[in-house]
């Protein structure tokens, strides 16, 4: 194989368009070099290779036009996310039009921010950089105002509303210098948005859609009223309707789902006649904790300070035991000691019981006065115990190394225990 043939093969390192334009000239130059130099020396080929290694990657990077392509992709993504935001705002508006106040104001401003973001995306696609900068700044200001009015905004919306315009602004100013840093900043923003949004969406999806069941009632009768809930998804937000067995339906507003905590506010679903004062649970603020078995239980506090229990059981899980694998994890002596004592128990139908937790031959046991039955407490981890032979778990609340209360969900409702001694 002669030197020119080798060089022609090496030319494949360059982008095809560059080869087509300058390949012939480069071969001519190489031929001249071969004529004037000794091609059999190592130094000659070292210089040839070094020249290719130094120039080909740069030309390939330029050929892919990284900055322009990334900007175009970012603009398309912006348009799509903004359209999603507008759709969500319209959806929220139709759901909340009966309720005036700052929630509606937040929807209007959020919609405006999305509209401006859409305009910015289109302006970037049309290469109207000045228009894109102005609409991005306006969108960012509008979003900040929305966030101040409506602080319970989801993380995904916050990322789209704030990080995306900031990233695009950086890229638009940076790309004046034709720097790949501009493209890198957009890529970083897009990747971080997706990286943070995907777990958020996955977590949101952890709240199963469909018909939920549950109980509500005052604290001394936590399962007095059976309820059903319809959990649906519109755009990127959850929508939940609460249907009591009798009485008015409630809509769950300002839903916040973070880790194992579900928070929301209850609002009457029907429009009230002018002058009519809403009663019941209207305006109550609720915080529920996800239990190991997958159900949620917690408290609602009304505008008048009245507190009531609320439990929500996801569809397909008739009771907590369905999703729990029975374990018998070892306990330390300190863990056992922290639980030993007597607990006053409120049963699902309002009955009362006394549960005595004690140690026998190093094994933790519980005795129910109501059922006159003694059995082991099988440790399931994270403070949760399954009474031997039962199909539910109870979770103890430990304060200062000592259990103060427990809660559990049986097939017939919530049981709660408070330490008496």
């Amino acid at each position: 194989m002669n030197a020119e043939r080798i060089y022609r093969m090496l030319l494949r390192a360059y982008p095809p368009a560059f080869r087509a334009e300058y390949g012939r000239e480069m071969v001519l130059v190489f031929r001249d070099q071969c004529r004037d130099s000794d091609v059999r020396t190592l130094g000659f080929w070292m210089r040839v290779f070094w020249d290719i290694v130094r120039s080909a990657p740069t030309l390939r990077t330029e050929a892919t036009r990284t900055v322009e392509v990334t900007m175009k992709l970012a603009a398309i993504l912006t348009v799509l996310l903004a359209a999603l935001g507008i759709f969500g705002a319209v959806n929220d508006w139709s759901a909340a039009s009966q309720h005036a106040g700052r929630y509606v104001l937040a929807i209007v401003m959020g919609g405006a921010a999305s509209l401006l973001l859409l305009g910015a995306g289109v302006a970037i696609l049309l290469q109207k950089r000045q228009a894109a900068r102005l609409t991005l700044v306006a969108s960012l200001l509008c979003f900040i105002a929305t966030r101040l009015v409506f602080p319970w905004m989801g993380l995904f919306l916050q990322l789209v509303g704030s990080v995306l315009p900031v990233g695009l602004l950086i890229a638009l100013y940076w790309s004046r210098k034709s720097s790949t840093l501009g493209a890198a900043s957009i890529a970083l923003v897009v990747l971080s948005s997706l990286g943070l949004a995907v777990p958020q969406l996955c977590r949101a999806q952890a709240l199963p859609l469909g018909r939920w069941t549950g109980w509500a009632g005052p604290m001394d009768r936590p399962s007095a009223y059976p309820i059903t809930l319809d959990v649906t998804r519109a755009s990127d937000s959850l929508q939940i309707m609460l249907h009591p067995a009798d009485g008015d339906d409630y809509r769950l507003d300002a839903i916040r789902l973070r880790d194992d905590t579900l928070g929301f506010t209850l609002h009457l679903a029907r429009a009230l006649p002018p002058g009519d004062v809403p009663g019941g649970a209207h305006g109550a603020s609720c915080t529920l904790l996800r239990q190991r078995a997958g159900y949620y239980t917690g408290l609602c506090t009304g505008p008048d300070g009245m507190r009531s229990d609320l439990s929500m059981v996801p569809p397909g899980s008739t009771h907590a035991a369905d999703t729990v694998t029975v374990k018998d994890l070892p306990l330390t002596a300190a863990q056992r000691e922290s639980l030993i004592g007597s607990y006053s128990v409120i049963l699902p139908m309002g009955g009362q019981d006394v549960l005595r937790v004690f140690k026998e031959n190093g094994i933790l046991k519980a005795h129910s006065s109501h059922e006159n039955r003694t059995g082991r407490l099988l440790y399931q981890g994270d403070g949760a115990f399954r009474p031997e032979g039962s199909d539910f778990v109870i979770t103890f609340v430990i304060e200062a190394g000592r259990a103060t209360s427990f809660q559990g969900l049986r097939e017939d409702g919530v049981i709660k225990g408070t330490r008496t001694q």
Binding site: E25, M26, L28, V29, D32, Q33, R47, D51, S55, T58
Partner: protein, 124 residues
């Protein structure tokens, strides 16, 4: 981002030039040259300290053409080399202005170095 050839940009906006680019502009300041002649001119002027390979040379020429500093001057054979037809390049008026601006920039630096006695003084 390629510069718009319709609007004549300021020569200073191209500065500082990478050394190979400045050497190419210097080589073309004498007149139209083909690729190999540019390479030989650069090597001779730099006394062998700057050696442009074909990839570096044509990569730089591509950018100079895009920026409007250099233009093609047709194809013809060079009787000194071979009968193959070669593409010739020449400076544009912008390219000449940019080369002059870079030379002035370097000259100012050299004068500053002289004032600081970093040049023209032999170490004792």
């Amino acid at each position: 981002m390629s510069r718009n050839p319709q609007k004549q940009p300021f020569p200073e906006s191209f500065l500082p030039l990478p050394p190979p680019t400045f050497h190419i502009l210097l080589a073309l300041a004498d007149g139209e040259l083909h690729g190999y002649a540019i390479m030989k001119g650069v090597t001779a002027r730099s006394e062998g300290t700057v050696r442009l390979g074909p990839g570096t040379l044509y990569g730089a020429l591509k950018r100079l053409l895009e920026d409007g500093l250099v233009e093609e001057a047709g194809e013809r054979a060079d009787p000194k080399q071979s009968n193959e037809r070669r593409r010739y390049y020449r400076l544009t008026s912008l390219g000449r202005s940019v080369a002059r601006a870079e030379a002035e920039r370097l000259d100012a630096l050299v004068r500053a170095a002289r004032r600081k006695k970093l040049l023209g003084v032999r170490p004792a």
